[in-house]
């Protein structure tokens, strides 16, 4: 049996031509990223599931318009982000606000514990300013480069860089109770 690696563009082309297996592969490859973004956007699992479904419905129906000039992940990120924004505007789901002060800093053992860490981390993500969180999601969940994230978000690359940095710095503050895990400001 010959196994051939298929490129992203081949996969997308196959899906656009009606190959169900290609679509299934796309869903499996990207469902976590889409769901993760929606979960952090709404802070609610049900809303995240609804958004994920809607994103892939839109992908099903519009993939023929994907022209391949950008990476598929870039396109998918924009679809995902817009679906979440549209759902919010339409009042179908509303982001659950997380007050940063309600996030208890992690102790050293909890910081090393995956379960506790992830729970607190996801709450901290929802507490980030939306623009910083969007930039961080684009880079970490969808694997976009700063340039691709800049294209997707319509902002300069340097702004992406600073937003990603700002998001991480705030996460450090929220998770450890002090910036980067140690008291004090970066100087």
């Amino acid at each position: 049996m010959v196994i051939r690696a298929i490129s992203e563009s081949e996969l997308v082309a196959a899906a656009a031509s009606g190959d169900e297996r290609a679509f299934a592969t796309i869903v499996r490859q990207h469902a976590d990223a889409v769901y993760g973004h929606a979960l952090r956007f709404f802070g609610d699992r049900q809303a995240a599931e609804d958004a994920t479904q809607e994103v892939f419905i839109k992908v099903f129906r519009t993939i023929a318009t994907f022209d391949g000039r950008a990476r598929f992940s870039t396109w998918l990120y924009r679809v995902t982000r817009n679906v979440c924004l549209d759902m919010n505007r339409a009042g179908r789901h509303v982001p659950q606000p997380v007050d940063p002060v309600t996030i208890e800093p992690l102790s050293e053992p909890d910081f090393a514990n995956d379960v506790v860490f992830v729970q607190t981390f996801e709450r901290a993500m929802s507490a980030l300013p939306a623009e910083d969180r969007d930039a961080l999601n684009a880079v970490t969940l969808f694997g976009l480069s700063y340039a691709e994230a800049a294209l997707a978000l319509g902002i300069p690359e340097g702004t992406v860089k600073s937003r990603v940095f700002r998001a991480r710095r705030m996460l450090g503050t929220l998770l450890r109770g002090r910036e980067g895990g140690v008291a004090g400001e970066l100087h």
Binding site: A33, E54, G91, G181
Partner: protein
């Protein structure tokens, strides 16, 4: 190198951005001597190793099992729908969601239940549109015969006045009436960007107890088989006097309604307008009185007019059949309570050309 420069470099390296090894070494050296930056570096490492959210397997399975081969196998349909979609392609997409549909007011009232995507096999009854097409074809054929006769017997081509004679006042008024209706009752058509496939003239509809019926032709049923079903309020033409007419059923078959013509010499047969959703027959329902031919069924008044192409805030997408016709349901309900269809359905759809959203309920 100061703390900010070091942290930015560490971030860039973490994200796979090109960073010179020399600069990165300097950043690490800075962190080794700076507790704050060392902690930031440790946080970066921890964030890197933290598991990202996973989509529930049930969700992924549901999405995959719902992939309709025919939806993606019709690029023309996909392209047309993409033009109306709220998510444009990568080149014309606005970055901050400003391409979204107009803002919907009020809460959706969405319950806790997850909308299940259902790609419903299309097993619709196409009787109504096919008959309409056949009648239209017959009319065109007769018109052609008339013009040909005019040429043959008068020795000249059909003049403009000849053509005008063949166009009845009723049909002209029907056209005008429908235009008014189109522009007056369906702003959602332009709002949603689904102006394609919207006709200016509707088929000949009547309503009976809220259900919409379509004129199928003249029939001569055995009167002994007819039973009075109730009353229909209609002029049975595009502009005449609205009267209350007796409606008859042949036995228990509610799919065909008979109404005597205006001169009472014959019966007009009206077929119930229906579609098949998930193997169940759904009938077109409205609470608007369709008193004249040429008027389009509209949503029952209990539903607010959708503001966006995806039905918000009144409806939510429930699924679509294998021809790509979206099926919407009211928030807090499922398809058992009825389904809504957006304007802009294909030509062979029972809702084709209707500029309004329509509501369909399971046939009893």
């Amino acid at each position: 190198m100061n703390c900010t420069e070091a942290a930015l470099l560490l971030c860039a390296a973490e994200d796979g951005e090109p960073v010179s090894s020399g600069a990165l070494a300097l950043a690490h050296a800075h962190c080794d001597g700076c507790p704050d930056c060392a902690a930031f570096r440790a946080t970066l490492v921890r964030l890197h190793t933290a598991p990202a959210p996973h989509a529930p397997l049930s969700l992924v399975s549901r999405i995959i099992s719902a992939i309709p081969e025919n939806v993606v196998a019709q690029p023309a349909v996909a392209m047309a729908e993409a033009a109306a979609a709220t998510v444009p392609g990568p080149c014309n997409q606005l970055p901050t969601g400003t391409d979204a549909p107009p803002e919907a007011s009020g809460s959706s009232g969405l319950g806790a239940t997850s909308p299940v995507i259902e790609f419903i096999p299309a097993r619709r009854r196409w009787t109504a549109p096919r008959i309409a097409i056949a009648l239209s074809s017959a009319a065109v054929f007769l018109l052609a015969i008339g013009i040909t006769s005019s040429v043959l017997f008068s020795g000249r081509g059909a003049s403009e006045s000849d053509m005008l004679v063949t166009s009845s006042p009723e049909s002209s008024m029907a056209t005008e009436s429908s235009r008014d209706d189109t522009t007056g009752t369906s702003p959602s058509t332009t709002d949603t960007g689904m102006a394609d496939n919207i006709a200016s003239v509707s088929p000949d509809y009547i309503t009976f107890e809220g259900t919409v019926y379509l004129l199928e032709g003249i029939e001569t049923p055995a009167e002994s088989s007819l039973a009075t079903a109730g009353a229909v309020t209609s002029s049975l033409d595009a502009s005449g006097t609205v009267r209350i007419q007796t409606a008859y059923l042949a036995g228990t078959d509610e799919a065909t309604l008979y109404v005597k013509s205006v001169d009472e010499n014959e019966y007009l047969a009206f077929g119930r307008v229906s579609r098949t959703v998930g193997r169940a027959e759904y009938v077109l329902v409205t609470d608007a009185a369709l008193a004249h031919f040429g008027e389009w069924p509209t949503l029952p008044e209990r539903f607010g007019k959708p503001v966006t192409s995806d039905g918000a805030p009144t409806f939510r997408l429930f699924g679509f059949d294998d021809l790509g016709v979206n099926i919407y349901v009211a928030y807090g309900t499922d398809a058992g309570a009825g389904v809504a269809i957006a304007p802009g359905t294909p030509d062979d759809d029972p809702a084709a050309a209707n500029p309004n959203w329509t509501w369909w309920e399971p046939a009893e």
